[in-house]
Symmetry: C2
Subunit: 367 residues, 2 copies
Amino acid sequence: MATPKLLVDVHTHVYLPRYASVLRSRTVAPRILTRSSGPEGKSEERLLILENEPSGGRPVGAQYWDRDEKLRFMDKHGIDISVVSSANPWLDFLSASKAHTLANELNNDLEQYCSTSPIISETRLRRLYGFGLLPLVPEVAISSLLDTVQQISRLSHLKGIIMGTQGIGKGLDDDALDPVWEAIEKAGLVVFLHPHYGVDGKAWGEKDNGHVLPLALGFPFETTVATTRLILSGVFDRFPSLRILLAHSGGALPQLSSRLASCIDHDPVVASRLKHDARYYLGTSLWFDAVAYGSEELGFKGADRKIGSKRMMFGTDHPFFPPLSSSEKWASVVENLDAIDGVQGWTQHGRDSVRGGNALTLFNLHN
Amino acid sequence: MATPKLLVDVHTHVYLPRYASVLRSRTVAPRILTRSSGPEGKSEERLLILENEPSGGRPVGAQYWDRDEKLRFMDKHGIDISVVSSANPWLDFLSASKAHTLANELNNDLEQYCSTSPIISETRLRRLYGFGLLPLVPEVAISSLLDTVQQISRLSHLKGIIMGTQGIGKGLDDDALDPVWEAIEKAGLVVFLHPHYGVDGKAWGEKDNGHVLPLALGFPFETTVATTRLILSGVFDRFPSLRILLAHSGGALPQLSSRLASCIDHDPVVASRLKHDARYYLGTSLWFDAVAYGSEELGFKGADRKIGSKRMMFGTDHPFFPPLSSSEKWASVVENLDAIDGVQGWTQHGRDSVRGGNALTLFNLHN
């Protein structure tokens, strides 16, 4: 039987209960703290991802950890499958040994979370799959990273690995990570590259603009820099089957990729280093979620990069950006679906691919 | 007689001789220094824009200051008109009084440079027009800035003002600049917003990637942040006739503008501050050079932002990015013209508008 047309969310997060407990036990960010608010002193939990976050962080609740809430959100918006990932800052704040232990535990937790989720009728697919975690922290032994890649590859509902941009302290272009890329490539796991640190906040100036500048610009800049550094380091030449999904539609990389190619051509330090024009890798090694909130941002197409509808995938960023009232649909979902519908020049088949078909292929999800 | 179809370069720089002399007199960056190179110890001048610049800066020569070289470059590439601007870092390194004096002198120099340039046959247009300079440095009196706006508005071949992103020390979203925006708006001058500082270099990591990361990413990020801060500060609500041309096709702003709108909607600090959706200003207050080196980057169009071919203008970034041999055409010119030709969905009229028609309109250049 042909697989029905499914809506698949590739960018959706969970703070697994074990992880939330770790955050609750901490006294500095990242942490979950309880504070009283309102005239009756009603207490609420708040997540502080970065120290000195504007507005004292954000309120958190069951949507962040409870699987039933995830499934309810999916049902409400017609999402058939979610490929769930831990949210930033992952294990970045832990020592190497604690990070290794917790990564293994959380990977097992996430496998359980996914493997016991409902089966979609008329298919053999479940509602939930996941991205595992590596203990990517300074001073971790490469063998610990390789062990964890092997662990994830054995957990049959985990289809990839989410990671930030810091690597083991020197970024993802660190040569020391080559054995890790090799193992990930060999295991056929998809890397989901996601920002956390943004860029230096001095650029944001003195005015109070809330979270807008770090979220709207800092996050995409971080992803853009990390991916560019990966390109320049030759990782995609050495590991041509490595597949990387970029959060937030690749940040600014699509818009700046021809400028990047031009700057490389003009720079004697790097001009002859790569096997291909920098734009080539966008159409071979990189995939893009469609979390861009607008049709025009998704509309890249054409000969050079072949991103178009072939390399983009629906995402929601749930449970972030909730609506103001619980009865509303989530604006982020509605906007991102509208954006897919609105791209000029995409066929219906292309739209269906972005809504789900591309994800089924990328994550090797068979009926 | 109808104006012939002209090719107009809106992004092309000069270090006027008076400015080059100032740079030669300095012992720290920005400076022009003479160094011996090669086996015969042949001396060459090099421009060091930032301290600790990779490769010890770049070689500079007549193309940076000699008007005949500018005209030769234009002839070689079929460019009819150039709207010339001083290059970064402008006057940023000077005291307020020196910056004020030098701005006035350089504005007069540039008027002379343009007003004595050849007339294009069959038109009343000259080959060269210019962007003036303001003494935008810390502690400058606002009255000095207003005086200089008036000076520029009286110099009939200066059609706008180039500026960096620092304002008078606190960025362009500084409320203290409101009288300056008001004066610029009233004078009908076009602001050319151009980056210089990039973003914090720690993001670039430890690998030697030459100039690539600061140039390909840092520059556009800086422009994107500055423009976003302008939007958030309400400058375009208060001065709706202000016209700002963004260098390098607006950096990452077009690609991130729907994400920006979404982040604003979700942030109580700014949600109700602006009169319009953030994307609105891209189609009303902002113009974009077509210095993006690729068709796909230029191809934004559609209902939300109306950038399309109506708000983009050919540019070259001359004299930066020279070819390796003097007989070659400049890759930056060829690539940027090819990009305009290659945009899917632009009409021939649209392409002609980007090549020159939009600039004639924006700068009010009449036959």
